[in-house]
């Protein structure tokens, strides 16, 4: 059973095609990560699922139903931009959002969540007095209070310190444990790799990746060499079959072209420098992201 089924959806803003013939199925109870460069169409897709924007063509089904123009407490949406009433007090604001969505009193849930995310002592303060991270946590609580079955989080970790990020991560995993489907967008590939069951990448409005991390990595094969050596690293032109050399500091990452023999690369390197570490690995999600959305291959340094 799928929580969300997107069928051939297109959305344009005047001359710009934000989402182009996108099809995607998100299983119930999964954490689905949306990745992609800025302006690629992640937020537009999320807004269409949340019924804030409507597609120009195609269908979006949430729990099997098309819900154009309808609102439901089953869906929680955390926008990328902070959208809180700044003059309201934290507790009043959360109770307002809870009642608006769930149609019931949510005082006890509000207290529990405030306590859990370390905001209990801020409950009676105005939102405008909170830091960016605290506002983010308040907005997260406002989103999850009615216990939605589908949670859409647009960059939920932005502006959070590691402790707060961990508490939000814990809350997301707990929501999943309860059966909630979570869609989240992130620019942090580490978060996508560690938190998401499946990853979807959108680039220039089109789907370019969709699947589990393992299946995505498998499709790229073990085409990456990580090497540590003493001495000067030869350039890509001096290493046959190597498309790109990335200097990560102590480690260099070499991307092999199709048909390249890693043993041959090892032999070539050994003649030029003393090798202390050599391993053939699958590309990281970060690497895959950069391969799709980054500039053409050349020698780059990210150290």
């Amino acid at each position: 059973m799928f929580a969300v089924e997107i069928g051939n959806v297109t959305k344009t803003f005047e001359a710009v095609t934000a989402v182009d013939r996108l099809s995607l199925s998100i299983p119930e109870g999964s954490v689905y990560g949306f990745i992609g460069p800025n302006g690629s169409g992640k937020s537009t897709t999320m807004r269409m699922i949340a019924n804030i924007l409507y597609p120009d063509s195609g269908t979006i089904r949430v729990f099997g139903q098309e819900r154009v123009g309808t609102r439901s407490a089953e869906l929680g949406y955390l926008p990328e931009e902070r959208g809180l009433y700044r003059k309201m007090r934290v507790r009043t604001l959360l109770e307002f959002h809870g009642e608006l969505r769930g149609g019931r009193n949510v005082t006890s849930e509000v207290n529990t969540w405030l306590e859990r995310l370390g905001l209990a002592d801020r409950a009676d303060q105005k939102v405008e007095t909170l830091s960016k991270g605290m506002s983010q946590k308040v907005q997260f609580i406002a989103t999850v209070i009615p216990q939605p079955k589908l949670l859409i989080l647009d960059e939920p970790f932005t502006g959070l310190d590691p402790v707060s990020a961990d508490s939000i991560r814990g809350a997301i995993l707990e929501m999943r444990k309860r059966g909630c489907t979570v869609i989240l967008s992130t620019h942090d590939m580490g978060v996508a790799e560690s938190l998401c069951d499946s990853i979807f990448m959108i680039f220039q409005g089109r789907k370019v990746l969709d699947g589990t991390l393992a299946s995505i990595q498998a499709s790229y094969g073990s085409d990456t060499i990580r090497v540590e050596l003493e001495g000067e690293m030869p350039g890509p032109g001096e290493l046959p079959g190597i498309e790109q050399v990335k200097d990560l500091g102590t480690v260099r990452e070499l991307r092999m072209s199709e048909g390249c023999d890693s043993q041959h690369v090892l032999h070539t390197l050994a003649t030029r420098a003393r090798i202390t570490s050599f391993s053939v690995v699958k590309p990281s999600l970060h690497d895959i992201f950069v391969r799709i959305a980054g500039p053409p291959p050349e020698e780059i340094s990210v150290a």
Binding site: A73, L75, E81, G83, L84, Y85, L100
Partner: protein, 311 residues
Amino acid sequence: MHRILLLAKRDYLQTVLSKAYLFGLVLLPLMMGGGFLILAIAGRSNATDQRVAIVDHTGVSGAAVIQACEEANRKAVSDPTNWLQAVPHYVFEEVKPETDEDAQLLSLSDRIRTGELFLVLDISRGALQPSGDDKKDDKKKDLVHYYTNSTGVNQMNIWLPAAVNDGLSRVRIAQLGVDPARLPDAMRQVDVVSMNLVSKDPATGKIVQGEKRNPIQTGLVSFFLVFLLVMVVIVGSMPNLGAVAEDKTQRVFEMLLVSASSFELMMGKVLAALGASLTTSALYIVGGLMVLSGMALFGLAPLNLLPWFFI
């Protein structure tokens, strides 16, 4: 419906408890009242003598028109209902018509431009023999012209036509052979006074004559009602306009649109604005009635009109 009421309640409370609303509630009447007061004071300080030239092409009407205008000016200066508007004292001078009428009017217009004159009144030759059948012929109707550089409304616009006609009528009556000495009595105007309704004393059963209405007080009550309407609209709507803009710019709408439809959101805003306006009406009306009661003028309150401020 529950969502609309919830949204309306939140917006209403935010509006009426905001500093902007409370400040507006107090500050707007003060600013508007103060504005009128400053205008009145400034107007009175500017109420200096103004010179008016009269060119009489009939050759016999100048003195009578000047006399009628001076009487009207004196009356306007002493009229207590003109407390808000400046009424200057006009000094009239009769200018002999010249052969080249256009050149003379140009010369007089230049004197207005330099500030030497306030107004030029040009009475044409036919002013003493107007024809009542020439309604379609504007040239025959427009027998008296006046020229001024004043762009605003001034007291002279109000009484000048009647005063000029009064002066011309005196000349015409004199030409019919009536003794000029008897003209002032014949032409004297009487005051038309507004009275309160006659009533019956419930205790004695006697008929009680209505009292003379104070024109200042009745004028003030009408003025206050118009004033109230403007303030209710401004004070009630401004914070809500700001709230809509704030919700949009701070992306609150995006958060709310998951929970409520755009219709529900806007209906909530409309109801909140309505509530704020009704609160403003109630506060101003109760305040106004208390002021009238304190001044022992409660009878002037148009109680029959007040419910309309809540509709």
